[in-house]
């Protein structure tokens, strides 16, 4: 059964139609790739799904953590995160001057039950829950092998680890659907390979559905079960990695058209 139903969402900035009639249906537990040349509108789709942009047209139905299906149009990003959709950013957006641990603990924020008064007066509830989320945060960091750096400032991490921290932070919000925006950007082949393993691991461990944008075809072909290709805001192909890589439209979008030369 599908946990996300995207129906004909479109958005235009001024006169530019960034995305036109985008459709997508995600089944529980699927790992789907969203690819396309630069400027195709991939990140714009993410921004519409997570409430950063409001689509000018269309609907997004999402089966929330509580099991009911909701239309996400008009919800703010923090509301969408609360009901079970979380994301990472293409241009890393960590809380740079916070420690690695605090970056993750921020993401536990809305699951914390104690209020400001408990925090100010340091009640038992405060200590109990703080200890609890600290343990949980460290566990998540451990999966990505960055728990030993939990007290470093996020800005001091190397690039690859910053990307991993973004994923950890997104996982900490306890999502059903995880959106990864170019998780392997800037990583070397070995790091990318490790990351593929980690993505697979967290998917099965946390029963996640994952939608990811990626330019690294090795990663996309390696782990995605289904691929959607965007070009100039239009969906030009959809299918298994094998189907996609032999689709003439996709090849055209990436490499241009073959010109027949008459001698």
């Amino acid at each position: 059964m599908s946990i996300l139903q995207v129906q004909n969402i479109s958005i235009s900035f001024g006169g530019l139609k960034a995305v036109t009639s985008f459709n997508l249906s995600l089944t529980q537990g699927e790992l789907v790739g969203l690819i396309g040349p630069n400027g195709a509108g991939k990140t714009t789709v993410f921004n519409m799904l997570t409430g950063v942009y409001r689509p000018t047209d269309g609907d997004v139905y999402f089966e929330s953590n509580s099991g009911e299906t909701k239309n996400l149009i008009g919800l703010r990003p923090y509301q969408i995160t609360k009901i079970g959709m979380s994301r990472t950013f293409q241009n890393i957006r960590l809380f740079k001057d916070l420690t690695v641990l605090d970056n993750v603990r921020v993401a536990f924020h809305f699951n914390v039950k104690y209020n400001s008064w408990d925090g100010i007066f340091r009640t038992l509830r405060y200590y109990r829950e703080e200890d609890e989320i600290t343990v949980k945060a460290l566990e998540l960091l451990k999966i990505f092998h960055i728990d030993h750096k939990s007290n470093e400032l996020a800005k001091n991490l190397p690039y690859g680890e910053q990307r991993k921290l973004e994923i950890v932070r997104a996982l900490a919000t306890n999502p059903k659907l995880l959106l990864l925006d170019e998780p392997a950007a800037g990583m070397n082949p070995q790091e990318t390979k490790d990351l593929m393993g980690l993505i697979e691991f967290v998917r099965s461990k946390f029963h996640l559905t994952i939608l990811l944008i990626e330019h690294d075809m090795h990663l996309v072909m390696g782990i995605c079960e289904r691929v959607v290709v965007l070009d100039y805001g239009l969906t030009i192909a959809e299918g298994t990695p094998a189907e996609i890589s032999s689709n003439p439209k996709v090849i055209k979008a990436y490499l241009g058209e073959e010109v027949e030369v008459h001698a």
Binding site: V52, F89, H109, N115, E129
Partner: protein, 340 residues
Amino acid sequence: MIIMNKRVLTFFKIAGLILLGLLIGDALIYAGIIDEYTAQILTLAGINVIIALSLNLISGFTGQLALGHAGFMAIGAYATAYLVMHIHVPQHLWPVLVGISIIIGGIITAFFGMVIGFPTLRLKGDYLAIVTLAFAEIIRVLMINMEGITGGAAGLKGIPLYTEDINLGPVVSFTWIAVFMILIIFLIRNLIKSSPGRAIVAIREDEIAADSMGVNVFYYKMFSFTLSAFIAGIGGGLYSLFFGYLNPTMFNFMKSADFLVIVVLGGMGSIAGTVATGFILTYLQEFLRVLQDYRLVIYPLILIFIMLFKPTGLAGILEDIKTFISKKISAKAIRKTGEG
């Protein structure tokens, strides 16, 4: 359970140390070892620290620049003055009235903070700076014109002091303000180190990321701004009973700039930095009264230099020294193990 005991123990240790410090301060002033003039500067510094901390909460921790804290201070000051002048209680209940009036002054100020924060904090960018700047001016002009309550341009005379006893005056004022300052330091520190506090700092770091991590950005901006106004109002209330006289010109833009300089110089988002700078700058201001007229020249220069060479302020400098020393120590340790 053992951990819990440790925490309780630390609490009593810290509380004990603070109480001891307060008593020593009181004793020194009472015995005249700290003369009355210095005691007054210390007390005034305490008020400046309180208001600078409130500004640090919204500007340093939440990342929303506010330029009108003198306006909040004025509201708190006049509200508290009005209450203590119009409510009459028997002598032994006087401290209770003072405490309650100061808190109510803070609540009234917080209300004003909410009213101007509500439309402004929805916008991204530096609109808050513009609106608070204008707001402080409006308040100042209102204070000049509402002669019935504020005494107008001539000022409000005859506000009762913390105590009528002239000999005890410096000690009692110092204690009132020191106690409030300590409470507010702990309030802000504990808040920042809790989950709502982390949400607030996340907003400063990256609003879009905070939003995407489930932080209700507008709510926490409002929360922080209202609390900031509340604390600034308390600072104003403390000020009115300390001086016994209020005049709208005390709360002009330069006053707001004073607090901003303390916050920036101490380090945005550093409580210790704000406290230290608050004391140093207040003392310097008294010391350099001759230069009073040149403040408009000196302050911008200080700000420009800080921004150019050390944007993290005093707190950043201390942090640098700390890392430098710890590096030295670890280098030494490595050399030693190398030799051994």
